[in-house]
């Protein structure tokens, strides 16, 4: 039989009570410590990335990525054994999202952020939450079926996206003499397509379906072409914070492998969604199905 000295016993009991749920049994560090100390977690969200992360007509943040982010928040709360965890929602744009994660304004951002190697120099990414292919939207009667038919044509894409990069690369490598228009956001890209300034709009397929659902006459438009790349969307967190990443990764993996994620997918991609009750009708792709089977945080590049 052994006896603990009184202060040590108290310390042991305290730490056991406080950290028993922690996998490594140590005091939380980094982001987890920050959340524990402040009782607040800051979530970065987008305002118009339909259906991933956007605000509805009541200014509530909703979306596929947002729902998955809330699963991660629950896991953080359970991990830290907090009775109450305040959630602070911070809108981000594609321009400021990386600095805001880095400087601590935002603890985690789940929207439509592609996991790529350049960004990995600045932030870390969770298990991927979605996989898109980059394709084309065109008017049904335009006669365009695939990328080679774009030679010498005006093509629009949204500035700052992987599609823009791929399109410019394709133009250089294959001497296609396309005129590439880089619009400010997806809405403006679609406007450029709709007004006849461009014959095709290259973008992530899920977002193209989103734009199509918003169009005056969705039946005029069609998504065509071989995907030029696949991209994994992930949640962004501060770099070098393995404890926090592990909690988030585990939470996402659990949602995916348990099959819960399929209901969430159906809710956002196969059923009418706010604000206008549009249905994206975007069938579950093989790539996403495989991701759900074996969650991972790999970038596609």
């Amino acid at each position: 039989m052994f006896r603990l000295t009184r202060p040590l016993a108290v310390a042991t009991m305290l730490s056991a009570a406080m950290f028993s749920a922690s996998a490594i049994g140590q005091e939380p560090t980094g982001t987890l410590k920050k959340i524990k100390d402040s009782g607040v977690i800051s979530l970065g969200h987008r305002e118009s990335s339909i259906p991933f992360s956007y605000t509805d007509d009541k200014q509530q943040v909703i979306g596929y990525s947002h729902e998955l982010m809330l699963k991660a928040v629950e896991a953080v709360k359970a991990e830290l054994k907090l009775a109450k965890l305040d959630v602070k929602l911070i809108p981000v744009t594609s321009q400021n999202r990386i600095p805001l994660v880095q400087n601590g304004t935002v603890d985690i951002e789940c929207g439509s952020t592609t996991n790529n190697t350049e960004r990995q120099r600045q932030v870390s990414f969770s298990n991927s939450i979605f996989i898109i292919g980059t394709r084309l939207m065109t008017r049904k009667d335009s006669g365009i079926n695939d990328f080679p038919e774009l030679v010498g044509k005006n093509v629009v894409t949204t500035a700052g996206t992987t599609s823009e990069r791929l399109l410019r690369k394709m133009n250089e490598e294959k001497q296609m003499k396309m005129n590439i228009i880089s619009a400010k956001d997806h809405g403006e890209s679609f406007l450029t397509l709709e007004t006849g300034r461009a014959v095709a709009f290259m973008m992530d397929d899920a977002l193209l379906y989103g734009e199509m659902a918003k169009a005056k006459r969705p039946s005029d438009w069609v998504v065509v072409g071989t995907p030029q790349s696949y991209e994994a969307y992930g949640c962004m967190m501060r770099k070098d914070d393995p404890a926090f990443k592990k909690v988030v990764d585990n939470a996402l993996a659990k949602v995916m492998t348990s099959g819960e994620v399929e209901k969430i997918y159906e809710k956002w991609f196969l059923q009418p969604i706010p604000p206008k009750g549009l249905n994206l009708n975007f069938p579950l792709s093989t790539a996403v199905r495989n991701l759900y089977k074996s969650p991972n945080d790999k970038a596609f590049e």
């Binding site: 594609s94 600095p99 601590g104 500035a159 990069r165 228009i181 880089s182 406007l191 007004t195 006849g196």
Partner: protein
């Protein structure tokens, strides 16, 4: 803050494989900003001078038209004007003309829309400077010109404008500086000027601070050059006996 500084990024070849470096992109953006702002400034000076003079002439109709012009272009936000020129005007043109415009090279469309927008917006502001310059002259000058037998046009040409133009050089310097800064708005319609290249650099390299700092320095450089140039002009044209004159 956990940030990876990487100033060498400017010398890396771009990810699009066009054989340029990111620095080349910044320089292209700088050239575009300068070309756009200078061409818009020249147009703005010409139109602004005409409208400014019209605001001071006797006669209700001419000055009413000039006032309407100034209030229209001065009171609509620049960004809204840009969208009007780029998105709305081609739809209002006769269909064949609108379609023809929309089929031209996208950069040409963006440049023309931006140039017209910046030029007209700035011309309204230049017109106000011209008007205030003319109104600041003692009424005796105009009367003396007319009494000497000049026509009204000659009085403006030989007596009032030579004075007024020299008086408004300092406030015009501000407008000249503004047009460079305002040109950044044109990145929103996809024109790859300095601000757009900076943003593009962020997207391609995920090095926001290096790129924003480089863009800031480039705008600063442009404006320092403009400031010294205009200061030299001021020195050359200042009116003896007035503030700052010898």
């Amino acid at each position: 803050m956990a940030y990876n500084w990487h100033w060498g990024v400017f010398l890396q070849p771009t990810a699009t494989g066009d054989g340029a470096t990111y620095l080349d992109w910044m320089i292209q953006g700088l050239k575009m900003t300068v070309a756009l702002s200078l061409s818009a400034w020249l147009i703005a000076l010409v139109i602004g001078a005409v409208i400014g003079v019209l605001r001071t002439v006797p006669g209700v109709w001419l000055s009413a038209i000039a006032t309407a012009y100034v209030e229209f272009f001065r009171n609509i936000p620049l960004l809204v004007q840009l969208f009007l020129w780029y998105f709305v005007v081609p739809e209002l043109l006769p269909e064949s003309l609108g379609t023809a415009f929309k089929q031209t090279h996208p950069v040409l469309q963006q440049f023309l829309a931006s140039m017209v927008c910046l030029a007209l917006f700035t011309s309204a502001r230049v017109a106000e400077q011209v008007r205030s310059g003319i109104n600041s002259l003692p009424p005796g000058q105009k009367n003396a010109g007319l009494a000497l037998g000049f026509t009204l046009a000659q009085t403006y040409r030989y007596v009032m404008l030579p004075m007024a133009v020299r008086l408004i050089v300092p406030p015009l310097t501000s407008e000249f500086l503004n047009i460079f800064k305002n040109s950044a708005v044109c990145s929103t319609i996809g024109l790859l000027e300095l601000a757009a290249q900076g943003r593009q650099l962020v997207d391609y390299t995920a090095q926001p601070y290096e790129s924003f700092i480089a863009v800031t320095v480039a705008y600063l450089l442009i404006n320092v050059v403009v400031m010294f140039g205009m200061r030299w002009v001021e020195g050359r044209v200042r009116v003896p006996g007035y503030i700052g004159g010898k």
